[in-house]
Symmetry: C2
Subunit: 139 residues, 2 copies
Protein backbone atom coordinates (compact mmCIF):
# COMPACT_ATOMS: atom_id res chain seq x y z
CA UNK A 1 0.00 0.00 0.00
CA UNK A 2 1.09 3.55 -0.76
CA UNK A 3 2.82 5.29 2.14
CA UNK A 4 2.09 8.87 3.17
CA UNK A 5 5.34 10.07 1.64
CA UNK A 6 4.69 8.28 -1.63
CA UNK A 7 1.22 9.75 -1.78
CA UNK A 8 2.52 13.30 -1.26
CA UNK A 9 5.20 12.82 -3.92
CA UNK A 10 2.75 11.41 -6.43
CA UNK A 11 0.66 14.53 -5.99
CA UNK A 12 3.73 16.78 -6.26
CA UNK A 13 3.14 18.13 -2.76
CA UNK A 14 6.33 19.11 -0.97
CA UNK A 15 7.11 16.54 1.72
CA UNK A 16 7.34 18.16 5.16
CA UNK A 17 7.18 16.68 8.61
CA UNK A 18 3.80 18.28 9.36
CA UNK A 19 2.29 16.85 6.23
CA UNK A 20 3.68 13.40 6.70
CA UNK A 21 2.54 13.15 10.32
CA UNK A 22 -0.89 14.51 9.44
CA UNK A 23 -1.36 12.25 6.45
CA UNK A 24 -0.12 9.19 8.33
CA UNK A 25 -2.61 9.94 11.05
CA UNK A 26 -5.45 10.25 8.56
CA UNK A 27 -4.47 7.06 6.75
CA UNK A 28 -4.18 5.10 10.00
CA UNK A 29 -7.31 6.49 11.61
CA UNK A 30 -10.06 6.62 9.03
CA UNK A 31 -12.66 8.69 10.83
CA UNK A 32 -14.02 12.17 11.45
CA UNK A 33 -11.79 14.70 13.17
CA UNK A 34 -11.50 18.35 14.02
CA UNK A 35 -8.18 20.14 13.64
CA UNK A 36 -7.93 20.23 17.42
CA UNK A 37 -8.53 16.45 17.69
CA UNK A 38 -5.65 15.76 15.37
CA UNK A 39 -3.43 18.36 16.98
CA UNK A 40 -3.78 16.76 20.39
CA UNK A 41 -3.17 13.28 19.13
CA UNK A 42 0.01 14.23 17.26
CA UNK A 43 1.64 16.28 19.98
CA UNK A 44 3.36 13.37 21.71
CA UNK A 45 5.23 12.31 18.62
CA UNK A 46 5.78 15.85 17.28
CA UNK A 47 5.75 18.46 20.07
CA UNK A 48 6.69 21.39 17.81
CA UNK A 49 3.75 20.83 15.51
CA UNK A 50 1.65 23.94 15.08
CA UNK A 51 -2.12 24.07 14.88
CA UNK A 52 -1.96 26.51 11.96
CA UNK A 53 -0.07 23.91 9.96
CA UNK A 54 -2.79 21.40 10.64
CA UNK A 55 -5.33 23.85 9.29
CA UNK A 56 -3.21 24.71 6.27
CA UNK A 57 -2.65 21.11 5.37
CA UNK A 58 -6.16 19.91 6.01
CA UNK A 59 -7.26 22.57 3.54
CA UNK A 60 -4.54 21.53 1.14
CA UNK A 61 -5.47 17.85 1.33
CA UNK A 62 -9.10 18.77 0.85
CA UNK A 63 -8.28 20.71 -2.32
CA UNK A 64 -6.52 17.60 -3.59
CA UNK A 65 -9.55 15.46 -2.83
CA UNK A 66 -7.58 13.33 -0.37
CA UNK A 67 -9.98 14.07 2.48
CA UNK A 68 -13.28 15.85 2.71
CA UNK A 69 -14.40 18.80 4.80
CA UNK A 70 -17.76 18.02 6.36
CA UNK A 71 -20.32 20.73 6.93
CA UNK A 72 -21.99 18.86 9.72
CA UNK A 73 -21.39 21.00 12.77
CA UNK A 74 -22.26 24.57 13.50
CA UNK A 75 -19.29 25.47 15.61
CA UNK A 76 -16.32 23.74 14.08
CA UNK A 77 -14.98 22.13 10.93
CA UNK A 78 -14.83 18.35 10.78
CA UNK A 79 -12.70 16.47 8.28
CA UNK A 80 -13.48 13.03 6.98
CA UNK A 81 -10.39 10.93 6.32
CA UNK A 82 -12.44 8.89 3.87
CA UNK A 83 -13.18 10.94 0.75
CA UNK A 84 -15.16 8.15 -0.90
CA UNK A 85 -18.88 8.52 -1.57
CA UNK A 86 -21.03 7.91 1.47
CA UNK A 87 -23.66 9.69 3.54
CA UNK A 88 -23.58 10.74 7.18
CA UNK A 89 -25.85 10.63 10.16
CA UNK A 90 -25.23 13.28 12.83
CA UNK A 91 -26.68 12.91 16.32
CA UNK A 92 -28.15 16.20 17.53
CA UNK A 93 -27.49 15.18 21.14
CA UNK A 94 -23.96 13.77 21.31
CA UNK A 95 -22.73 15.25 18.03
CA UNK A 96 -21.25 11.97 16.82
CA UNK A 97 -21.01 11.31 13.10
CA UNK A 98 -21.88 7.91 11.66
CA UNK A 99 -21.15 6.71 8.14
CA UNK A 100 -23.97 5.43 5.99
CA UNK A 101 -23.70 3.53 2.73
CA UNK A 102 -25.36 5.13 -0.24
CA UNK A 103 -27.91 2.95 -2.04
CA UNK A 104 -27.57 2.33 -5.76
CA UNK A 105 -30.26 4.35 -7.47
CA UNK A 106 -31.21 4.01 -11.14
CA UNK A 107 -30.15 7.02 -13.16
CA UNK A 108 -33.71 8.02 -14.01
CA UNK A 109 -34.20 8.97 -10.35
CA UNK A 110 -31.16 11.24 -10.21
CA UNK A 111 -31.80 14.81 -9.22
CA UNK A 112 -31.52 16.99 -12.29
CA UNK A 113 -29.94 20.43 -12.22
CA UNK A 114 -30.91 21.33 -15.76
CA UNK A 115 -27.41 22.07 -16.99
CA UNK A 116 -27.11 25.19 -14.86
CA UNK A 117 -24.41 23.87 -12.60
CA UNK A 118 -21.25 21.88 -12.84
CA UNK A 119 -21.43 19.67 -9.77
CA UNK A 120 -18.15 18.56 -8.23
CA UNK A 121 -19.57 16.65 -5.34
CA UNK A 122 -22.56 15.84 -3.22
CA UNK A 123 -23.22 15.70 0.50
CA UNK A 124 -26.05 13.85 2.18
CA UNK A 125 -26.56 14.40 5.88
CA UNK A 126 -29.25 12.91 8.10
CA UNK A 127 -29.85 14.47 11.48
CA UNK A 128 -31.68 13.16 14.49
CA UNK A 129 -30.87 11.15 17.57
CA UNK A 130 -28.74 8.03 17.85
CA UNK A 131 -29.74 4.87 19.67
CA UNK A 132 -27.44 5.46 22.61
CA UNK A 133 -28.72 8.98 23.29
CA UNK A 134 -32.30 7.93 22.76
CA UNK A 135 -31.97 5.30 25.49
CA UNK A 136 -30.42 7.80 27.89
CA UNK A 137 -33.23 10.28 27.34
CA UNK A 138 -35.86 7.68 28.21
CA UNK A 139 -34.50 6.93 31.66
Amino acid sequence: METAIEKLKSLKIKVTRSRVELLKFLMDNKGHFTAEDIFKRLQDQYPNLNLASIYNNLNLFDEHGMIRRLYTHREKAVWDADAGAHAHFVCDVCGKIFDLELPQIPEKYYLKYSGSFKVSHEEIIFRGICNKCEKKENI
Copy 2:
Protein backbone atom coordinates in the same frame (compact mmCIF):
# COMPACT_ATOMS: atom_id res chain seq x y z
CA MET B 1 -52.99 33.65 4.62
CA GLU B 2 -51.72 33.51 8.19
CA THR B 3 -49.98 36.67 9.34
CA ALA B 4 -46.72 36.70 11.25
CA ILE B 5 -48.52 37.59 14.48
CA GLU B 6 -51.08 34.83 14.02
CA LYS B 7 -48.34 32.33 13.35
CA LEU B 8 -46.46 33.30 16.53
CA LYS B 9 -49.65 33.09 18.60
CA SER B 10 -50.59 29.71 17.19
CA LEU B 11 -47.18 28.42 18.27
CA LYS B 12 -47.52 30.04 21.71
CA ILE B 13 -44.47 32.21 21.10
CA LYS B 14 -44.59 35.56 22.84
CA VAL B 15 -45.26 38.29 20.30
CA THR B 16 -42.49 40.90 20.33
CA ARG B 17 -41.50 43.52 17.82
CA SER B 18 -38.23 41.74 16.96
CA ARG B 19 -40.02 38.52 16.27
CA VAL B 20 -42.74 40.04 14.20
CA GLU B 21 -40.35 42.05 12.04
CA LEU B 22 -38.09 39.05 11.59
CA LEU B 23 -40.90 36.65 10.76
CA LYS B 24 -42.53 39.13 8.37
CA PHE B 25 -39.24 39.49 6.60
CA LEU B 26 -38.83 35.74 6.28
CA MET B 27 -42.39 35.27 5.06
CA ASP B 28 -42.09 38.05 2.49
CA ASN B 29 -38.61 37.13 1.28
CA LYS B 30 -38.42 33.38 0.92
CA GLY B 31 -34.70 32.88 0.42
CA HIS B 32 -31.38 32.21 2.11
CA PHE B 33 -30.04 34.75 4.56
CA THR B 34 -27.38 35.28 7.17
CA ALA B 35 -28.25 37.02 10.43
CA GLU B 36 -26.30 40.03 9.20
CA ASP B 37 -28.26 40.16 5.93
CA ILE B 38 -31.51 40.33 7.81
CA PHE B 39 -30.19 42.79 10.35
CA LYS B 40 -29.17 45.26 7.66
CA ARG B 41 -32.44 44.98 5.81
CA LEU B 42 -34.55 45.55 8.92
CA GLN B 43 -32.66 48.51 10.33
CA ASP B 44 -34.54 51.15 8.35
CA GLN B 45 -37.89 50.13 9.71
CA TYR B 46 -36.63 49.20 13.19
CA PRO B 47 -33.46 51.08 14.11
CA ASN B 48 -33.28 49.76 17.68
CA LEU B 49 -33.26 46.14 16.58
CA ASN B 50 -30.36 44.19 18.01
CA LEU B 51 -28.32 41.58 16.17
CA ALA B 52 -28.42 39.29 19.20
CA SER B 53 -32.20 39.21 18.97
CA ILE B 54 -31.98 38.16 15.38
CA TYR B 55 -29.74 35.29 16.38
CA ASN B 56 -31.94 34.31 19.30
CA ASN B 57 -35.05 34.29 17.21
CA LEU B 58 -33.58 32.58 14.20
CA ASN B 59 -32.58 29.79 16.56
CA LEU B 60 -36.03 29.83 18.13
CA PHE B 61 -37.80 29.66 14.77
CA ASP B 62 -35.49 26.87 13.72
CA GLU B 63 -36.38 24.85 16.82
CA HIS B 64 -40.03 25.28 15.88
CA GLY B 65 -39.35 24.05 12.36
CA MET B 66 -40.47 27.36 10.86
CA ILE B 67 -37.17 27.90 9.07
CA ARG B 68 -34.09 25.79 8.59
CA ARG B 69 -30.48 26.39 9.44
CA LEU B 70 -28.31 25.46 6.46
CA TYR B 71 -24.86 24.00 6.94
CA THR B 72 -23.66 25.17 3.58
CA HIS B 73 -20.98 27.72 4.39
CA ARG B 74 -17.83 27.41 6.38
CA GLU B 75 -17.71 30.88 7.84
CA LYS B 76 -21.26 31.78 8.67
CA ALA B 77 -24.71 30.39 9.34
CA VAL B 78 -27.32 30.67 6.61
CA TRP B 79 -31.02 30.32 7.27
CA ASP B 80 -33.53 29.11 4.73
CA ALA B 81 -36.92 30.78 5.03
CA ASP B 82 -38.42 27.76 3.30
CA ALA B 83 -38.36 24.76 5.65
CA GLY B 84 -39.99 22.46 3.08
CA ALA B 85 -38.09 19.50 1.64
CA HIS B 86 -35.70 20.47 -1.12
CA ALA B 87 -32.02 20.17 -1.94
CA HIS B 88 -29.42 22.90 -2.48
CA PHE B 89 -26.66 23.70 -4.88
CA VAL B 90 -23.86 25.89 -3.54
CA CYS B 91 -21.45 27.63 -5.90
CA ASP B 92 -17.88 27.32 -4.64
CA VAL B 93 -16.96 30.56 -6.41
CA CYS B 94 -19.71 33.09 -5.66
CA GLY B 95 -21.16 31.27 -2.66
CA LYS B 96 -24.73 31.58 -3.89
CA ILE B 97 -27.28 28.99 -2.88
CA PHE B 98 -29.78 27.61 -5.38
CA ASP B 99 -32.84 25.52 -4.58
CA LEU B 100 -33.29 22.18 -6.26
CA GLU B 101 -36.41 20.04 -6.35
CA LEU B 102 -36.05 16.57 -4.92
CA PRO B 103 -37.05 13.75 -7.27
CA GLN B 104 -39.62 11.21 -6.18
CA ILE B 105 -37.77 8.00 -5.45
CA PRO B 106 -39.44 4.62 -4.87
CA GLU B 107 -39.15 3.51 -1.28
CA LYS B 108 -37.04 0.48 -2.10
CA TYR B 109 -34.20 2.86 -2.98
CA TYR B 110 -34.29 4.74 0.31
CA LEU B 111 -31.13 4.80 2.30
CA LYS B 112 -31.48 2.44 5.25
CA TYR B 113 -30.09 3.23 8.66
CA SER B 114 -30.85 -0.15 10.17
CA GLY B 115 -32.94 1.10 13.07
CA SER B 116 -29.96 2.66 14.81
CA PHE B 117 -31.07 6.22 14.39
CA LYS B 118 -34.22 8.26 14.67
CA VAL B 119 -33.93 10.66 11.75
CA SER B 120 -35.59 14.05 12.10
CA HIS B 121 -34.48 15.50 8.83
CA GLU B 122 -32.25 15.23 5.83
CA GLU B 123 -30.00 17.63 3.97
CA ILE B 124 -28.75 17.24 0.43
CA ILE B 125 -26.14 19.66 -0.81
CA PHE B 126 -24.45 19.73 -4.18
CA ARG B 127 -21.32 21.78 -4.60
CA GLY B 128 -19.57 22.98 -7.70
CA ILE B 129 -19.65 26.01 -9.95
CA CYS B 130 -22.68 27.85 -11.27
CA ASN B 131 -23.21 28.85 -14.89
CA LYS B 132 -22.48 32.51 -14.32
CA CYS B 133 -19.15 31.91 -12.57
CA GLU B 134 -18.17 29.28 -15.10
CA LYS B 135 -18.58 31.77 -17.94
CA LYS B 136 -16.54 34.40 -16.10
CA GLU B 137 -13.69 31.97 -15.54
CA ASN B 138 -13.48 31.14 -19.24
CA ILE B 139 -12.88 34.71 -20.39
